[in-house]
Symmetry: C2
Subunit: 343 residues, 2 copies
Amino acid sequence: MTNTIKDVAKKAGVAPSTVSRVIADSPKISAKTKMRVRAVMEEIGYYPNVHARNLVNKRTNVVGVIMPSASYAPFHNPFFPEVLRGITAQANEGKYGLYLSTGQTESDILEEVKEMVHSRRVDGIILLYSTKADTVIPFLLEENFPFVIVGRPPELLEDTVSYVNNDNIKAAKMVTEYLLLLKHEKIGFIGGREDAYVTLDHKEGYYQALCEAGVSVNEQYLVYHDEVFEGGEQAVIELMAKQDPPSAIIVADDLMALGVLRMLQSMSYDVPKDVSVISFNNVLMSELANPPLTTLDIHIYELGFQAAELLREHIQTPDLPAAARVVGHRLVRRSTTKAYRNE
Amino acid sequence: MTNTIKDVAKKAGVAPSTVSRVIADSPKISAKTKMRVRAVMEEIGYYPNVHARNLVNKRTNVVGVIMPSASYAPFHNPFFPEVLRGITAQANEGKYGLYLSTGQTESDILEEVKEMVHSRRVDGIILLYSTKADTVIPFLLEENFPFVIVGRPPELLEDTVSYVNNDNIKAAKMVTEYLLLLKHEKIGFIGGREDAYVTLDHKEGYYQALCEAGVSVNEQYLVYHDEVFEGGEQAVIELMAKQDPPSAIIVADDLMALGVLRMLQSMSYDVPKDVSVISFNNVLMSELANPPLTTLDIHIYELGFQAAELLREHIQTPDLPAAARVVGHRLVRRSTTKAYRNE
DNA sequence: TTGTAAGCGTTATCAA
DNA sequence: TTGATAACGCTTACAA
């Protein structure tokens, strides 16, 4: 039923190889045969069989997108739709297709990646997470397979793998400094998953800012939770139970920050009067929160878009040296931060 | 570099066809050769080339997922990540891969679908939207290609195409009746895109409830907007500008409802004291809204999961008659609805 | 139970 | 400028 290149060839009165050349728009084919062949293709609705093509070309024009394992609650956090949107836009421009991972566990995912690579399912891979014990990166590296991380690789591999990231250290430092300038000194820090690099970097920036300001770090003020609503709620309980609770809190993620707000409110703390809250990401809901969140916009769409772009370059130029792209950030001041006043 | 079936065959001292049979776990192969061949596959890290496979099998084990065109703001509405989550879970179970559409315009998308079908890129398709003037469905039907809609087809095709949907008429009727029972009679209706079937069905349910209750329909109370935050804001302006503004509002979508809340608050209306608001979907943020939204849970995850399941059946059994699966709904009463009191 | 060989729909090499 | 033909890596009759 489906037409093949032979059907087109027959109907156009040429050889299959000629049709193939027309598809590739080869300059060695005369304008008139091109016309004729194209007319036939149009007429009988011919589409090349991708598998036959991929088989001989050893290219697929598809990029694999690897979501974090389900334990990171990927689809619950608006971060992911937004990176996907960026990736999609760029993929669409470059005529690339998107193949999405479905694995739920870490080992599922590694197996999926192996399959994608070995069975030549995709030309390159975008990793939507970056954690310490990750096994996918070493595998990809060993296979010398094109891939880009949204986030960052371990320090040791910084010059070896390509990635698109924010400067999370600087970002966290800035956020901390902002709070410091508002005269807060008891600053709580609610990090995301401890094994995620973004969390480590946030912590580093937080430390740097405090040190430079000569404020001593109180380890009690650091807690870690998953980047979900409930994580924020729990973190607040831990933090506010300290003998000298913080007057300001830095939260790894907006969704988490909503949990923070809700829990603070339930404890009758007023935000920002009693406690200031500042978070990262600036997803849509941070604006809709009550009160609207002061947050650091990290340009999520851009992270996705650039990752896809960088990957494309790597696919096209196999031995391109690893590159890092840094996407900027921007403080969005809304209503959850306020200068400290001693009562 | 990549190993082929021949490498395995050579190393195991058998013919390529034998290896192929081992892969397929054919019962005609002796246990010992299976062992031996599998050992070799393991050893050299053999993965079958999917394209060679797909080429001869005419199957891909991949399902295509078609997002609505960008004009529907798909990635901005948490509905989509959540259906995707359901689809992913089921696809993963069935060892199916996911191929995501990237098209931004309607014609982009139609072209993508044509390519997926004709070039045999996927075995089946899930459509994440259903609108009146859609051209994808007729195409898929004509090609006799397996597909499932999340939503519903035009009435004329109800027995022809498979779909997974809520009973949106009943749902809207229930919601309206609930408001009626709370003694509201001036009930505003903020629909989504006018060309989406879900909007038509909501409207139908709304009408039915009013008619049965003997309350006359006031056409002025019906407005339509895109399912985004801003749509809700604008809708409220239109609705509350009427000479006799509604005391309760039904909103097509939670995200939109947040816009409704925000705008009402900015006009100094108290929700639910002055105006009751009830919406559909029950995405995460409806719970986090302030005040938390009364909303109709439509089990989005389930819609996705079942769509993937149904599609799988269609793929496995080519001439399976079209089936419709109805996913239930459930009223989640929170804090935006209240009995009407005349002042 | 296993091997041989043809064929899936392309592209690319070599001749013409 | 075009046409034969081999090759890509696999599956599946058909033979052995």
